[in-house]
């Protein structure tokens, strides 16, 4: 009734008649409260979700090839746990690898939107339960006992008289010669002994001994190092080069050729590739942002801003406008791939979150049938969204074809920073109308450089999103519509996105919109609370739409000792964020005193220091608390960089940053000395929600609010230090790669 009325008032632009009578005006549910991106991705995967198999081999080992991409988020470990739980095994008895590209899975090999566990949890359990059921059945037949009397533990099935058989002995008789429909009963949650218990990452030992293999660590015959000489402009493309013969005669160099994105050099070592790339004399076409800079892009965004249209319902207006500059999505492992392209087939090795789309595109590029391209999914050295794009694999395939030899292609750090994927520049404008004790309306208008959605994801999400009213819109609008929730009872609450396609290489960088929208929203929530003379926490608690969300907020306030006495120049800030089927609340303490802000560290951005973070998160069912905590920790440290220190500066058509000493991602001297991550372990939600990106948005909001409260100034752009002088001299764009120093032995400790 109320919802219908609100809907009508939104349509007809008139004030709701009862507006004056209610202190808190309920906002109707926004789409993602009922159906969000996780639902969309799971629905896409559903038709092929059961095309998976858990293998029990004759030697008793249990293995599973997970059709997802692990770049450190720990899904291999959590998948081992899920299988171990259902099959009554120990975690280390289950071997999980990443599946090669399997085109028959269609949309079910995509890793993104923090959707993995939500979409794979039940199908993997079903497969495991099925396998265990067949093994028990086979044991029962051989022992001539009722199945229900048998017990199974650590891969051994024990009968009533103490006789036992291993999974390995039973696997052949357990196999079914025909396809048949079978019903399985999944283990009761009350009986879980693995799920919900903290488990260390199972590759920890391989990592700390240097044995874990990343793409560039592979030893593929004759796959020699290859680096591309890239344009000075962002997305500039090559015309020609004048000194190829000279380059070919440089030490170690085996091949040089023009490719789509520049000139590729293959050599005995990466160092020799880099030296040769820096000697190349190439003429370039303009890039896609030629001549543009931060200000000119911002101007174009402003021209595309949608109007705010609050209904004239009386009351006071609270407004804010915030600018979010470009931020880099580059992980520590730079973009890379190994390719071995032959006349009739190709083999690719790369970390990829959309290997089917990659395989399809590479096959098309090479003129091969898709089934002649084998795509091995490697574990990645971080992704945060970057590995939704498979440009390195495409380039490696192109280079290998051109040279007629295998290649190990790697982007340099400068390439990743200047030509890589970025969080798009955007503005967020908010207008709220406040009357006495009520918020009558809350409008958000987010305007952004277009976010490129990976083809593997966009096709699917668009197809699903078409099902809801007004769904036939821009691809990224779908992601927006399926993710954005304003979690408060703010009457007529709307949020719209408009995007300007300016041909930047953009992508999700540990979420797309939410870090920015949460920053803008939560800063405005503080402003509204101030207007009503209410405490920021109490105001949020009062206006939160759902009880489950309020619990998390209240817990955060309690854990953080909200409202405690703070010294001048320091403050607490609080924020909440709803996404991924869960809820999160964050309280930070920030120190903005001059001695802290002005502390000097060589080649660093110091500034305000977040001294403590309290983060409470309810993701529903928790598979691995320790892994979940790690994801929150990473998200929190990302949020500090996003909000305070780490921006890309566009000047004359290129990003100036080319080093980690230019792009100020969080370092030890920025990270909060105190961090208290609280995981709700009695969630009312029965399923596992999303985790990978969930630490970022609420922290961004809390840091921004704390900064505003500590300094008395509401920041209007992010990162907050983006417009300060650069504490570095930018590297030239030609030659494209900063040369390696030679004084390393003077810097030992």
């Amino acid at each position: 009734m109320v919802a219908a009325e609100i809907g009508r008032s939104a349509l007809f632009d008139s004030p709701p008649v009862w507006a004056a009578d209610l202190p808190k005006i309920p906002s109707p549910p926004q789409l993602p409260e009922q159906y969000d991106l996780l639902d969309a991705i799971r629905d896409l995967a559903r038709p092929t979700a059961n095309l998976i198999k858990i293998e029990v081999k004759r030697d008793g080992t249990v293995s599973f090839a997970l059709p997802r991409s692990d770049n450190g988020q720990g899904i291999i470990t959590s998948t081992q746990m899920i299988i171990a739980e259902e099959m009554d095994l120990d975690v280390d008895q289950v071997k999980v690898t990443l599946a090669d590209a399997r085109p028959e899975l269609v949309f079910n090999q995509l890793t993104g939107g923090s959707s993995t566990t939500f979409s794979t949890y039940t199908p993997i359990r079903v497969a495991a339960a099925l396998a265990k059921g067949r093994l028990l059945g086979a044991a029962a037949a051989q022992m001539e006992q009722e199945m229900s009397f048998l017990t199974s533990r650590q891969g051994t099935i024990t009968g009533q008289n103490g006789e036992s058989m291993g999974f390995g002995e039973l696997t052949e008789s357990a196999a079914s010669p025909n396809n048949e429909a079978v019903e399985v009963v999944l283990k009761d949650r009350e009986k879980f002994r693995v799920i919900g218990k903290s488990q260390n990452k199972t590759d920890a030992r391989a990592i700390v001994t240097g044995k874990k293999k990343f793409t560039t660590d592979l030893k593929i015959d004759d796959a020699l190092p290859t680096v591309i000489c890239r344009a000075p402009d962002h997305n500039g493309f090559p015309k020609d080069a004048s000194n190829l013969d000279e380059i070919r005669s440089m030490p170690g160099v085996t091949d040089v050729a023009k490719v789509s994105t520049g000139y590729a050099v293959r050599a005995r070592t990466f160092g020799q590739c880099i030296d040769a790339v820096n000697e190349l004399k190439v003429s370039w076409k303009d890039g896609t942002a030629a001549g543009e800079d931060d200000d000119s892009v911002l101007e174009k965004i402003r021209k595309a801003e949608l109007p705010l249209a609050a209904p004239d319902a009386g009351g006071d207006t609270v407004e804010g406008e915030f600018v979010f500059y470009f931020r880099s999505g580059s992980p520590l492992e730079t973009n890379c791939a190994v390719a071995d392209v032959r006349k009739d087939r190709a083999e690719i090795w790369a970390a990829s979150k959309s290997p089917i789309a990659a395989q399809y595109q590479i096959a098309k590029d090479l003129g091969l049938p898709q089934n002649k391209v084998t795509f091995h999914v490697m574990e990645g050295g971080g992704s945060f969204g970057r590995k939704l794009f498979f440009d390195a694999a495409q380039e490696a395939a192109e280079c290998s074809k051109k040279f007629g030899k295998p290649v190990k292609l790697m982007w340099t750090r400068a390439d990743d920073s200047r030509q890589g994927r970025t969080h798009p520049m955007a503005t967020s404008r908010i207008r709220a109308v406040v009357s006495d004790e009520s918020v009558l309306s809350f409008e958000m208008r987010h305007t952004s450089v277009a976010t490129e959605i990976n083809p593997g994801l966009s096709e699917g999400v668009s197809a699903v999103a078409l099902k809801y009213p007004g769904g036939n819109i821009f691809l990224s609008e779908n992601i927006w519509e399926l993710t954005q929730i304003t979690p408060y009872n703010f009457g007529n609450s709307t949020r719209f996105l408009n995007e300007v396609d300016m041909r930047f290489n953009t992508s999700s960088t540990r979420n797309i919109y939410s870090p920015d929208t949460a920053t803008a929203r939560e800063l405005m929530v503080d402003q509204i609370a101030k207007k009503m003379d209410k405490d920021p926490y109490e105001f949020r608690s009062e206006f939160t739409k759902m009880e489950r969300w309020r619990k998390v907020l209240d817990r955060a306030a309690k854990e953080a000792d909200w409202g405690k006495s703070m010294k001048d120049g320091t403050a607490q800030g609080i924020a909440m964020h709803i996404e991924y089927k869960g809820s999160a609340a964050c309280v930070v303490e920030i120190d903005c005193r001059p001695d802290t802000v002005n502390r000097k560290i060589r080649s660093a951005r110091t500034g305000a220091r977040v001294t403590k973070v309290t983060y409470v998160v309810d993701v529903g069912l928790v598979i691995n608390p320790r892994g979940l905590e790690a994801q929150m920790m990473g998200g929190i440290n990302d949020a500090l960089a996003m909000t305070l220190t780490a921006g890309l500066h566009l000047r004359d058509g290129h990003f100036v940053e080319a080093s980690w000493d230019n792009y100020f991602y969080t370092r030890q001297w920025n990270t909060p000395p105190e961090m208290n991550i609280v995981i709700v372990d009695d969630s009312e939600a029965p399923e596992p929600g999303g985790a990978g990106e969930f630490g970022v948005a609420a922290t961004c909001g809390a840091v921004a609010c704390a900064y505003a409260r500590a300094t008395g100034t509401v920041p209007d752009h992010f990162p907050i230090y983006h417009k300060d002088d650069l504490p570095f001299e930018p590297y030239p764009t030609v030659p494209p790669i900063p040369p390696s120093p030679t004084n390393g032995l003077e810097k030992t400790f």
Partner: protein, 159 residues
């Protein structure tokens, strides 16, 4: 091509390569020892941190020709052998106990830097506290800094 001779992880090696190639590429591309990672090539990210004669250094920024035959290089693969007892160095064990690693790409460099920092503090009679840890410049893009701190302190206890 000149011959480069040095000791790495206890083994004497001879490599035919130009003397100006940075040691990182000799280690990774020619010797096939891949624990030290490339993250920047300009001695900033510290993902390649290894030890030379027991001290932390970054082979991305040293010409192979600057290494002498008597120099002993240790990468993450050889760290445990520099420690008496157990098949892991206490810092590696602390890293496992504290579940530090996410993707793990930076962690070989983090561990090698941490070991050297603890030894430096021991030499100088300083505590391995937050101030000492904040001298470490290693990037962890997964953002595990807080667990790295815990692990360094725990590992230092055992050193």
């Amino acid at each position: 091509m000149p011959e480069q001779k040095f000791t790495i992880n206890g083994e004497s090696v001879t490599v035919d390569v130009e003397s100006d190639v940075r040691l990182l590429w000799v280690i990774r591309d020619l010797l096939g020892i891949t624990g030290p990672k490339y993250g920047c090539g300009i001695n900033v990210c510290k993902a390649c941190t290894s030890h030379i004669n027991g001290k932390a250094f970054n082979p991305c920024s040293v010409k192979v020709g600057a290494i002498s035959e008597s120099d002993e290089i240790t990468t993450i693969e050889g760290l445990a052998d520099t420690w008496d007892g157990g098949d892991l160095h206490p810092m590696q064990q602390a890293w496992i106990d504290k579940d530090v690693s996410q993707c793990g790409f930076c962690q070989p460099g983090q561990i090698m830097a941490a070991v050297a920092k603890v030894r430096e503090c021991q030499r100088e009679g300083r505590d391995i506290d937050d101030d000492a840890i904040e001298e470490l410049r290693n990037i962890c893009r997964c953002g595990t800094y807080n667990r790295i701190r815990e692990a360094i302190k725990a590992g230092a206890e055992e050193m």
